[in-house]
């Protein structure tokens, strides 16, 4: 399900991915994780082991679309990377999770879109606070990067730095 060979776009550029996604079914012995390994744990797994993983620069977590960002209110600042899964691209819940993290909790770390992530949604993802995107390996990276800039203006405030048009007039 989770494609670790996929293409990573981060901060508007094609990037190397050194984070490994861990599936929900995958059993992993956290004591054997070396400092040089970077892993993204399923949220439930992360929560169970919170005392051990919180604050570690090489352990992130991922939220599934039927979970919620709310429980992360007080702890997210000590998580280096939060990935949000799109099981199908048309499931738009993850956009609100990212906005919750950025706008309500002022989360500054990396928010990564994973799963069925499509270039044509990238402009929207970015405006909701995502700054990295794990795309299917067959996607043309140039297309994806171009899509990030589909629109140069926005009518409404988002989680990016854009000012709504009505304030610019």
């Amino acid at each position: 399900m989770l494609d670790n060979a996929a293409l990573l776009i981060k901060d508007q550029q094609l990037s190397d991915n050194h984070w490994q996604l861990i599936d929900k079914e995958q059993v992993i012995d956290l004591s054997s994780v070396a400092d040089s390994d970077h892993i993204i744990l399923p949220f439930a797994h992360w929560q169970e082991n919170q005392p051990m993983v919180l604050g570690k620069a090489n352990i992130g977590l991922w939220l599934d679309s039927d979970e919620s960002a709310e429980p992360l209110a007080s702890v997210c600042h000590d998580v280096p990377l939060i990935a949000i899964n799109f099981p199908v691209f048309s499931d738009g819940r993850g956009y609100s999770y990212a906005r919750t993290l950025r706008d309500h909790f002022a989360y500054r770390g990396e928010i990564r879109a994973i799963g069925d992530v499509l270039p044509d949604q990238m402009y929207f993802y970015q405006r909701c606070g995502f700054n990295s995107f794990l795309l299917r390996s067959d996607v043309n990276p140039e297309t994806a990067i171009n899509c990030l800039n589909d629109f140069s203006l926005s009518y409404q405030a988002g989680s990016d730095q854009r000012t709504p048009i009505f304030h610019q007039r």
């Binding site: 629109f151 009518y155 007039r169």
Partner: protein
């Protein structure tokens, strides 16, 4: 009306470029059918039974004659020379080629039009009263607020893939002509105790498979907070609305499941976070938009003299007299009137007009009504600022264009979806049903005697023809592969909103005119003096109708 500036134009231009690129990648096989689907839908492009259908946005139903002429040219150059006025005040083209759509969008952009978010699971066109700005019972012009909602919801990054489509209506009048209680959000404009604009926010109304009347969750919301509050509602819905079953995905199901109070509390909690953020409206932003809706440049006319002239013109022509009574509405400006152009002549699909009619209507609007037009959710067109002194001449022009049938709001002026003739989702045809009823009931005196009756026809449960809220509703159903029709009675789309009750087992298309006749017979027999159909129904309930229709 609202005028685009370079910001609006830039956004729409970028949209056309984006969609052209997407279409090219789709045709080149880089984007799959499934992935292309929401992209084209968010641009109003459906793939229908026979051809694609392109829905063009008409924000809150208002447009100008340059736009109308451009649309007429588009129907000629890219389609079959006619267009359809939809029940949500938009236009629909029935035969564009998928490959041509980027070019059509380019043409639309040249007159500041687009097809943005006219379909798909996103925030759709915000609708309002077709008489906005000129209605006598209006608290305040709702259109500036509609425009502000339009701007906020256009390419909203968070709400492009909601559980289901989302519709907002704004109502600012005594009599509700926007059916706001049947929208996902109904924004009811009020003036608070201090005389300031405020809003009652109603949530969770809708038609479709489960018709529901909305509930008030936020009374008296101060105007600066309109946008942030809407955003809070949408954010809660986006996260909690059901996505496992498309028939249970509308916000009405969520509000019912949580209870209106709990839902309101959740929204409030969300709203506290964003209440005063950058989306908060300020007086400059509102005034800027309001300035586009300043009243028409009215001439001072002696109303009494105009009325006297009309009086003598009435005597000259019964046909004019009827038209004046039925299709012309009072205007808040003395000496002026609101005119409805009737798009339901028998034998033509309700709401369809030809390119030739479109151009002629544009000429009429230029000549008689300040160059502006409005689509109504009854699928007619309104000229909102006509001098009473011009009515006779305008009527003559309408007669020659076959848009003067004096039947507005009567049985032969049905709301009717495209149905099985066009729509891939249909269970049954709806246009021939409308026509059969129009043929059976073509005696105007009889229709007037019956009084106003809303007949609403949908070809399937999606209820684009708003059958639940017709005084008489007709719904196409599929019975073992055959087209049948279920009748409901007692729906109402005004302030005393109600949802129709199903009469009983469904009928074949041939039976419909006779069944309607029987329903009307019961009404005529049982009504008290001057009692409209809906009141008789409410007094008696469905039983006597049912009994008579199904007897022997």
């Amino acid at each position: 009306m609202y005028q685009y500036d370079h910001y609006d134009r830039q956004v729409i231009k970028e949209r056309v470029d984006q969609y052209r690129n997407q279409t090219q990648r789709f045709l080149a096989g880089e984007i799959s059918e499934a992935e292309f689907l929401p992209l084209r839908l968010q641009n109003g492009l459906y793939v229908q039974r026979l051809a694609p259908m392109l829905r063009v946005a008409v924000p809150y139903g208002l447009y100008n004659t340059a736009q109308m002429r451009k649309l007429a040219a588009i129907t000629r150059d890219y389609d079959k020379g006619y267009i359809h006025v939809s029940t949500r005040q938009n236009f629909q083209l029935n035969w564009p080629r998928l490959e041509d759509v980027p070019d059509i969008l380019d043409e639309l952009a040249s007159v500041d039009m687009h097809a943005v978010q006219t379909s798909g699971n996103c925030i759709r066109n915000t609708t309002t009263d077709q008489y906005a700005g000129v209605a006598v019972d209006e608290i305040e012009d709702p259109r500036p607020w509609c425009e502000l909602i339009r701007q906020w919801s256009t390419f909203h990054p968070e709400f492009a893939l909601l559980p289901r489509k989302f519709k907002i209506a704004v109502c600012a009048t005594e009599e509700d002509r926007a059916a706001f209680k049947f929208h996902d959000i109904g924004v009811e404009l009020i003036h608070n105790d201090a005389g300031e604009t405020a809003f009652n926010i109603h949530v969770g109304g809708g038609l479709g498979r489960t018709p529901v009347i909305s509930q008030l969750i936020k009374p008296n919301l101060a105007w600066p907070h309109l946008i942030t509050y809407l955003e809070a509602v949408l954010r809660v819905y986006n996260q909690l609305g059901r996505r496992d079953n498309k028939y249970k995905a509308r916000i009405k199901i969520l509000v019912k499941a949580m209870g209106a109070e709990a839902f309101a509390a959740r929204v409030d909690q969300e709203w506290q976070f964003i209440k005063d953020n950058d989306n908060t409206l300020n007086i400059e932003a509102v005034d800027r938009v309001k300035a586009f809706f300043i009243p028409h440049d009215y001439q001072s006319v002696d109303d009494q003299v105009s009325n006297e002239r009309l009086q003598s013109q009435r005597l000259e022509s019964t046909a004019f007299n009827r038209w004046l009574d039925k299709n012309v509405q009072p205007h808040k400006q003395p000496g002026y009137a609101i005119v409805n152009l009737a798009l339901k002549p028998t034998g033509i699909a309700p709401g369809d007009i030809s390119d030739y009619q479109m151009e002629a209507i544009a000429d009429l609007a230029d000549r008689f009504s300040g160059g502006l037009l409005r689509n109504t959710h009854h699928q007619n067109i309104v000229l909102a600022d006509v001098k009473k002194d011009d009515l006779f001449e305008l009527w003559q022009c309408c007669e020659s264009l076959a848009i003067a049938t004096p039947n507005l709001g009567y049985l032969s002026d049905p709301i009717c979806c495209p149905g099985g003739d066009y729509c891939a989702l249909a269970n049954a045809k709806s246009i021939p049903i409308a026509e059969a009823v129009q043929r059976q009931f073509d005696d105007l005196d009889y229709l007037y005697d019956l009084g106003p009756i809303d007949l609403n026809i949908s070809g399937c449960m999606n209820a684009c023809g708003h059958h639940h809220v017709g005084h008489i509703g007709i719904l196409g159903v599929d019975k073992k592969g055959k087209e049948f029709y279920q009748i409901s009675l007692g729906g109402n789309m005004s302030r005393e909103a109600s949802i129709g009750k199903i009469l009983g087992p469904s009928f074949s298309s041939e039976e419909i005119p006779e069944v309607i006749q029987k329903i009307l017979d019961v009404y005529v027999n049982k009504r008290t003096d001057e009692e409209p159909f809906i009141d008789t129904y409410r007094r008696l309930g469905i039983a006597p109708f049912k009994e008579y229709v199904y007897a022997g």
